[in-house]
């Protein structure tokens, strides 16, 4: 087990280096000169912009720029924003807790909704609660998040005045964006829960449990659910990365000051250090979550063996 984890970490490091290289390269291949953009529609003479490009190191060969970036990143220095001149690390640290709050809340919501609806559908397999849940899940997966976000705002902020429409000042501000983020994932989780559960409900040990005269709550809640949790946890864990990417859309709809909002704005401005920092962080999160899921997987299902 320990060796397996070590080996996985060994793979994670080159993965992150590769990601950083791809992001670095992509940012520079996408059209858009950060220095030109600093001046809006009114650029100064080219000579002055060239000077600024030199100051920022943008006139160096790409590989040299990347080497410098990698070297600094490995020393924990993500650079300084072209725009605000603030250290990227502190810009991210400012916003990260809010994004984590948003993602954590939506993961809990998605898990609760997914599990409840999945169980409901499986227990009534083939009858109307199952079909209704299926239909809901299709809708949940298909709804564009920016549209869903606006509809939730209209209902809960404008009509009912229950929750704030925009911002990130209080925990209440995270509720609507987290719901928006959660619904698509809840739909996927509900489907997976349902199919896993239908399969397990038909197995011998469940029939035995029923035959023993165990109460339904015990059959479903203990014998069945335990087995459903394996695919459920795997998927829920993987969805963490998914939620992070969804945060880029949702944070912008709700004016929620997390790293998604920062990343989108930085990309629009071609603020390379900030964009790199945000993407690198997201990639690290994704790799870590995968690692944790793989490890948890073995803990939940002892039949799984690891050979490093």
């Amino acid at each position: 087990m320990g060796r397996y984890v070590l080996a996985r970490i060994g793979v994670a490091v080159p993965t992150l280096v590769l990601v950083s290289f791809c992001v670095f390269l992509m940012l520079r291949l996408v059209p858009g000169d950060p220095v030109r953009l600093m001046f809006g529609m009114t650029p100064p003479p080219e000579s002055e912009m060239a000077l600024l490009r030199h100051e920022l190191g943008l006139d160096e060969p790409l590989l040299a720029q990347y080497a410098a970036f990698l070297d600094r990143s490995l020393h924990g220095d993500l650079g300084v924003s072209y725009r605000s001149k603030e250290p990227v690390a502190s810009m991210i640290a400012d916003r990260l807790p809010r994004t984590l709050r948003l993602i954590g809340l939506s993961l809990v919501l998605a898990a609760l909704l997914g599990l409840s609806f999945g169980i409901l559908a499986a227990l009534h397999s083939g009858r109307w609660p199952d079909l209704a849940t299926s239909a809901l899940a299709v809708v949940g997966v298909s709804i564009p998040q920016f549209w869903l976000g606006l509809m939730l705002i209209l209902l809960f902020a404008v009509r009912l005045h229950w929750l704030p429409a925009a911002g990130s000042a209080t925990p209440a501000h995270a509720v609507l964006p987290a719901t928006t983020l959660a619904l698509g994932n809840a739909a996927v989780l509900a489907r997976v829960t349902r199919s896993a559960m239908v399969e397990i409900l038909g197995q011998d040990f469940v029939r035995t449990a029923w035959a023993k005269g165990l109460p339904p709550a015990r059959v479903v809640g203990v014998h069945v659910l335990k087995n459903v949790l394996i695919p459920f946890l795997t998927l829920a864990g993987l969805q963490l990365g998914d939620l992070l990417s969804g945060a880029f859309v949702v944070e912008n709809v709700f004016g929620y000051a997390g790293i998604g909002q920062l990343g989108v704005y930085a990309m629009a401005q071609r603020d390379f250090p900030v964009t790199q920092g945000v993407v690198l962080l997201a990639a690290t999160g994704y790799v870590l979550v995968n690692l944790v899921v793989d490890v948890l997987y073995g803990l939940v299902d002892p039949r799984i063996r690891y050979d490093a």
Binding site: R8, L52, E86, P144, A169, V249, V253, G258, A268
Partner: protein, 568 residues
């Protein structure tokens, strides 16, 4: 690496597949959201200082009441509140309230002293002397004297600062202290634009002690002498300003000479205008600072709200043609627009008033000149003389005369080649571009529209296959013509018919009447050659709750916040 019991079902691949599909879906949405943001950035970007204007909001009859917090929504967060480090529009939107400038714009487009009581200029327009008012202090009590003014400008001029606003100072070489209340600007060449530029809040006077004490952190701890001062900047969420107890109001455009009526002004950062309007309806904010015409139309006459329009625009939306500029000599138009008749045909093909009504919901002013309606040397006569009214027959005749004859498929041809053009526009202008496309196709052009984000547009347009472009440039001073003619693509390469010389002359003419004539002459050069087809000047629009009183645009395109009060 992961080995499983053969009998155990494998959720992993399914989870992966679903996760990947969801990722792709999200990624697409991400691109969409990013595009949307760029549009907003485009709306909020660039200088927003503004020439003379009035406001459509009715003046409030009741006596102002002090107290309350005004909450406004802005689309983008300022990058820094240090004026030496940005020319971003959102930052300027805050600078205007926390910094004072040496001079300010008056309601009729002239200038008056703000921190400076008066000024004089040498005959060669190369030496400008400003006298500061006595007893000025910053919000923290530090003295605002000649040293502070010299420090502010020398810092921007110092190449080590990398100030993006440095270029606006043009030929300014140095700023020198004569005595505690007198500073002199030394220019390498004459400039008639110095006052225009000094009135923009990028050149607000900063407290030297605060800059030195805070270092790189000054951008988050700014100290100025404006009517408000920074109380709190919650990253990504809001910026709170409170009245500056040490501020003295000298501008004639601000009625309230005392302390601002409001206890605080909160600028909430909400990227999406739709969300801003939802927050406005739910009462979380009191006004959305900048919205588009389609939204304004929804709130026009709606009980509880007011639509406030800034009719004097500093923007001009125009069509330009691809050009090439050889290393020396005159720039040349690229085909098919190397024939003036083809350029004129574009003008006659378009129904601009129709576009203003249908696409912009009436929130723009038809402007057939290169000068925005709210900028010095905008000439109504020129706007009459040079206006193209839609005349498709005439457009057809011009194209016929230029040798482009109508083919069976409705596309004109010349020497077997179709009249095909690639038409570039910003995402924000996509709707307008599509109407233009259909109107050009009606007279025999074959048009491909490319709608792009700001970053891609400005960075790649010069080297692309673009034949025709649509762009919106905004600037408060008449040197907007210089900006347009040096953008680096399309008309931004124009050096024909003596335009650079005409603009250079206008730029050094200090006498107001002569200066106006010089800029009108330059505009005529542009229009006679049909070098661009000006379309309209867009209007700034805010939507506010009706309990916000005296909510109006001042001469710099900003809401005059010291005059605003809240009805209880």
């Amino acid at each position: 690496m992961v080995k499983k019991d053969a009998s155990s079902s494998s959720p992993r691949p399914e989870g992966r597949r679903r996760a990947r599909a969801a990722w792709r879906r999200r990624a697409r949405l991400g691109v969409l959201a990013a595009a949307l943001l760029l549009v907003l950035a485009a709306c909020g970007g660039g200088p927003t200082a503004q020439a003379p204007s009035g406001s459509e909001a009715a003046p409030s009859e009741a006596a102002p009441v002090a107290g309350g917090t005004l909450t406004l929504a802005m689309t983008d967060e300022p990058d820094t509140l240090d004026p030496a480090h940005t020319v971003a529009g959102p930052s300027e939107g805050i600078f205007y309230f926390i910094y004072d400038t040496l001079v300010a714009r008056t309601a009729d487009g002239g200038f008056e002293g703000d921190l400076a009581s008066d000024w004089s200029v040498s005959d060669d327009a190369k030496t400008w002397t400003f006298h500061l008012r006595p007893g000025l202090v910053f919000s923290n009590g530090d003295p605002l004297d000649a040293d502070a003014v010299v420090f502010t400008f020398q810092r921007i001029l110092d190449p080590a600062t990398q100030a993006p606003s440095k270029g606006f100072l043009g030929p300014v070489e140095s700023v020198e202290k004569v005595d505690d209340s007198t500073v002199v600007f030394h220019l390498a060449a004459p400039s008639a634009l110095l006052l225009d530029n000094l009135a923009i809040s990028y050149f607000g006077i900063v407290d030297p002690k605060a800059v030195q004490a805070e270092g790189d952190g000054y951008g988050r701890q700014p100290v100025g002498s404006g009517p408000f001062m920074l109380k709190e900047w919650a990253t990504g969420d809001h910026i709170t300003l409170v009245p500056n107890p040490n501020h003295k109001e000298f501008r004639s455009t601000v009625a309230n000479k005392g302390r601002p009526y409001l206890d605080a002004v909160v600028f909430r950062i909400i990227p999406q205008v739709e969300t801003q309007l939802a927050a406005l309806e739910s009462g979380e904010i009191d006004a959305a600072l900048s919205v588009q015409g389609d939204k304004a139309e929804l709130y026009q006459g709606k009980p509880g709200f007011q639509v406030v329009v800034n009719p004097a625009s500093i923007g001009i939306e125009y069509i330009f043609f691809a050009m090439e500029k050889p290393a020396s000599g005159e720039s040349v138009y690229k085909p098919p627009f190397d024939d003036i008749r083809v350029r004129q045909a574009v003008g006659y093909a378009l129904d601009v008033p129709g576009i203003i009504q249908a696409v912009l919901h009436g929130y723009a002013v038809r402007n057939c000149t290169p000068m925005p309606t709210g900028v010095f040397a905008y000439d109504p006569d020129l706007n009459q003389t040079y206006c193209y009214a839609q005349d498709t027959a005439k457009a057809g005749e011009l194209l016929d005369a230029a040798g482009w004859t109508l083919g069976a498929d409705g596309v004109r041809q010349k020497d077997g080649k179709p009249l095909h053009v690639e038409f570039w526009a910003l995402d924000a202008d996509k709707d307008v571009a599509q109407v233009i496309q259909s109107q050009l196709q009606a007279v025999g052009f074959q048009v491909d529209v490319k709608a792009l984000d700001v970053a891609t547009y400005v960075s790649t347009i010069g080297t692309s296959g673009m034949n025709l472009g649509l762009v919106n440039v905004g600037w408060s001073a008449p040197n907007i013509l210089d900006i347009m003619a040096t953008l680096g693509f399309g008309f931004g390469l124009y050096n024909r018919n003596g335009l650079p010389e005409a603009l250079a002359k206008a730029g050094v003419t200090v006498d107001e009447a002569a200066r106006r004539d010089a800029y009108v002459a330059a505009q005529k050069i542009i229009l006679d050659d049909a070098a661009i087809i000006p379309l309209y000047s867009p209007e700034g629009i805010s939507i506010a709750s009706d309990k916000v009183m005296n909510f109006k645009f001042g001469p710099d395109s900003h809401i005059t916040l010291p005059d605003v009060w809240l009805k209880r």
